[in-house]
């Protein structure tokens, strides 16, 4: 290889060089190593155990580093019923998580109160904290939660073109989904 000749150098390095933007790179890293904070309160938390165990294996999606400290996490999974008594606790823990952060409402109770339409159960956690992905089910099957995590990854990478989500990941003028796919 003749290193003095820039043309050959590029030929030799070939596809081992990727040109991209820093934010796309950072987002790629973020989506591939989500650190979930599990706010498990009830039955859904038991099903979440199933998601982390060998059969469904959350590690395949790079999100197996479960943290119970909000300071170390960027994805909150609210698994279970949230009562009014629990509301201030959930809000405080959400506030303690550093930006950027995402929230999954796992199951019917977290999403809407479920069939606990009564004096004590909060009718959906989105009355106190923002939610990115809702998962149906009581409790949802593990596949449904895995799907939610893949959706969160989509939101982070910017491939998820829902309104309002794009601003989180990229500058609209400079970025198209195509570029991101190339970058990956």
């Amino acid at each position: 290889m003749d290193m003095k000749n820039p043309a050959t150098a590029v030929d030799v390095l070939g596809e081992s060089i990727i040109t991209t933007r820093v934010d796309a790179m950072v987002n790629w890293a973020r989506e591939s190593s989500l650190w979930p904070m599990i706010f498990g309160t009830a039955c859904c938390a038991i099903e979440f155990m199933g998601v982390t165990a060998s059969k469904y294996d959350l590690a395949r999606f790079g999100a197996e580093a479960i943290r119970f400290s909000p300071r170390q996490a960027d994805l909150m999974i609210v698994a279970g019923t949230i009562t009014y008594k629990q509301g201030p606790v959930l809000k405080q823990i959400y506030d303690q998580m550093s930006e950027p952060k995402w929230v999954i409402a796992m199951g019917a109770c977290a999403s809407s109160g479920g069939f606990y339409d009564n004096y004590t159960t909060m009718q959906g956690i989105d009355t106190i904290i923002p939610v990115d992905v809702y998962v149906a089910g009581c409790p949802p099957r593990p596949e449904a939660l895995l799907d939610a995590i893949i959706q969160i990854q989509g939101i982070i990478s910017g491939n998820h073109h829902d309104k309002g989500l794009q601003t989180m990941c990229c500058n609209e003028n400079a970025c198209t989904p195509c570029d991101l796919v190339k970058a990956r």
Binding site: I46, G87, P88
Partner: protein, 564 residues
Amino acid sequence: MNMPDCFTDIRSDTLLTHATIARENLLLGIEILKSSGYTLLLDITAIDYTLYPSFHPEPFALVYLLRSGDFTQAFSLKCYLPRDALTVETLTPHYPCADWLEREVYDQYGILFEGHPNPERILNHHQFIGHPLRKEYPITQAQPCSEAVDLMPQMRQRLLEKKIIFPDGEGGYTEPNKDLMFLNLGPSHPASHGTIRTFVALEGESIIAAVSEIGYLHRGFEKSCENHTYNQIIPYTDRLNYCSSLINNVAFAKAIEEMLGVTLPERGIYIRVLLIELSRILDHLICLAANLVDMGALTNFWYLFNPREDAYTFLSKLTGARLTNSYMRVGGMANDLYRGYESDLEFILRKIEKGVGDTLKLIEHNRIFLDRTQNVGIVTAQQALFYGFSGPNLRASGVQYDQRKNTPYYYYDRFEFDSPIGSVGDIYDRMTVRFAEIDQSIRIVRQCVAQMPGGAINVSNPAIILPQKQAVYTTIEGAMNQFKLIFEGVKVPRGEHYSSLEASNGELGFYVVSDGSGTPYKVKVKAPSFLHMAAYPSMIENEQLADAIINLGSLNIIAGEMDR
């Protein structure tokens, strides 16, 4: 026993006696019962008779459920209270476990207990106004909470009792005579197995005083029951102890069937026993798996959890759901076992045996495991009975109380199995009793499969069980039958009944009041975890902080049934 004069309106059957007592005689009556052998307090609840269709002398009644010291008899003592004088004397000096039970009655019904050491709310938050289980309280009237309660007043009281602080004579308190650090364990804590808050005063690593706060998962089970038909409640029962949903299903269905006076055909009962025992195994698996993770033994989590995953596959095939099965119905169950279930079940049992065997190989002679669990968190037999323990936690302390043995129901006397007990009552015993129970439950499941009789699974009473779909679509009687049962529910005769069975955590009972309609007038759950948790703060005092974590795991507190 000979009934003294102060008891009126006495009704008794083989396992349960009902009696009524005047308010002024209440303590006397309790003392008589205690001296004649009813040494265990199971539960305290109240009934609001305001909307009840038939006459009752007063709008409110308190109900005390007691159990005899030989565990065979239960006693339900009722005491009427007028609306303008909703106070009685506390039972805490007689039964220590009355503490939390009375707080719950105060919280839910607004009945005051004179002389109670800590008359605070327990399930609802501190900003709550009113008493939700009173009939006048609308079910959907929500009351948001803006901040968590300060547990310092309760802690101060505890420190006073322990002579660590003293009143300073000016309405305040002296500084603690120890160098204390106050710390919240929870409500959101990885080892709290749900949302439970324990506030501890630490001296170094030792816990000097502790107070616990529960109710974070109080999701209104009992109020919801009053608004749903009997069969609609089955899905709610799933979510009491969600680690073994089927046992809750059966416990509730069994209570209602006893009120209806019906018994399932033999095959139905065998299927129930089979599923109860399978659920008991699954419950113990997850308890032990999580408990070992708390100790840092992560590998065991996969050894124990993966067989549970295989069992989910079996349960999905049978009931359509992995965790919250809703499989039982009043008078039977949703459908029969599928063809070829035996081989699936045997496959799971083998997996469980392997998982348990592998785990035991890792921990049985493991120095860390033994040092951390043996002689830690000891509950003596005497204390366990005082606290109102039941199930594996009580048996670990060496008390032979297992309803399957003491008062056999559902043909449990036909099966060969042992009910293992511990000797010390420490964490090690609580865990090993569960390991041993897994083996025994496997034995019962195998016997069930071997002896499985043929025939019907449901009672053949059209007033209880839905007609065949064919009949619903082709005959007017079938359509009407379906319509009546779905819209009005199973009509249960007027009356009050307490029924319990041996669930994976202990005595799980339902106290049901029926007004004759298809919806219960009142349902109270006697949940084992509630009383186990009540004992927890005093159990962890004078222990190390790290031991408090595994102590909680070894009690297997399930927030769903504790907070309801």
